[in-house]
Point group: C2
Chain length 197, copies 2
């Protein structure tokens, strides 16, 4: 998605060869117009899948997920990282390990919002080693619903999440695929392909 790639090039900050900071339009400050375009792009890519629900995880997944839900006119459910006072019973939970933070957290979704008839599109802002996506897939599977695919705003293709999900037969659509953050520069996977043409 060219618009997103340009935004990453112009406004993203490469903090190391592992960390891309996009807090000016996705993770802290949000660009609503860009989110709308992202929602349209996810809707286009998954339009033939009969999606009935979107599942994401707080907080940075919410904006792109809600814009995608708007296109499909279907509900969006965000998994919580900490338990709510008024959401205590009937929770489906999964463990998510963060390699960066070196901690394991429980994420949860209220069971009543997913059922065996649902075809779920999982949306998240980043895909690195895939632990958050795996947790969300685990929750959807526990609910009896079907995972129709995973939509990612920014994939760090040099980490193993995308490959791991694909190896499990899960369709992954990433709108920007970062091949490398070496030398303080963002290189996209598609650019490399284009160079070969």
């Amino acid at each position: 998605m060219r618009l997103l790639q340009e935004k990453i090039k112009n406004d993203g900050q490469v903090l190391s060869d592992q960390i891309l900071k996009v807090d000016s339009f996705l993770n802290h400050q949000i660009d609503p117009e860009l989110m709308l375009e992202i929602g349209k792009e996810f809707a286009k890519r998954f339009e033939d899948e009969g999606i009935t629900k979107i599942v994401t995880i707080e907080s940075s997944g919410i904006a792109p997920a809600v814009m995608t839900g708007l296109q499909f006119n279907i509900p969006v459910i965000f998994a919580r990282k900490r338990k709510s006072l008024t959401l205590t019973e009937g929770l489906i939970t999964a463990s998510v390990h963060s390699f960066t933070k070196q901690e394991t957290n429980e994420i949860s979704i209220a069971q009543k919002f997913l059922n065996a008839e649902d075809k779920v599109l999982i949306i998240d802002d980043f895909l690195a080693n895939g632990q958050a996506a795996l947790g969300l897939i685990d929750i959807v599977n526990q609910s009896g619903a079907e995972v129709a695919g995973v939509g990612i705003v920014i994939e760090k293709s040099f980490q193993d999440g995308a490959k791991m999900l694909s190896d499990q037969g899960i369709r992954v659509e990433s709108l920007a695929r970062v091949a490398s953050l070496a030398n303080g520069e963002v290189t996209f996977k598609s650019e490399k392909v284009e160079e070969l043409v």
Copy 2:
């Protein structure tokens, strides 16, 4: 806002005379179409204020805030409740006390996203005793920007947040004002007024 009132009546759950649960369209599962209408309504109410930025707080404020930002075509910044690994320097922070949870948390926004030229609309899902709104106002004031107003999806008018903010001269626009949750029933403030007509 009639559409929102109907949604609260039909899908909200009164857990006690203090607690209204709206996890089926706002707090956990999100109704994107409703969020769009909410965004349009906030944009209409604040259209003459010259708003340049929207500030909200994760997680349930994000969806209505992003839809409002879409109408104005301006950025949305969400305050974080816990610190990010890649957001560590240049933070403006405020303390927010939760009476329900009996704990005080620090919320933060990166200083670089707000400046003295900004006119800020603060958006949040609930207004009860106003502690979260006060924290956000504190952050905006620290940045040198101006608070143009506070937009609230659901105001619990029987708690003192709305009055306290108004007493400070802050314009508060709440799309649904709950006068009472007594006897397991939601009564809106505007309904009471209508009864007098």
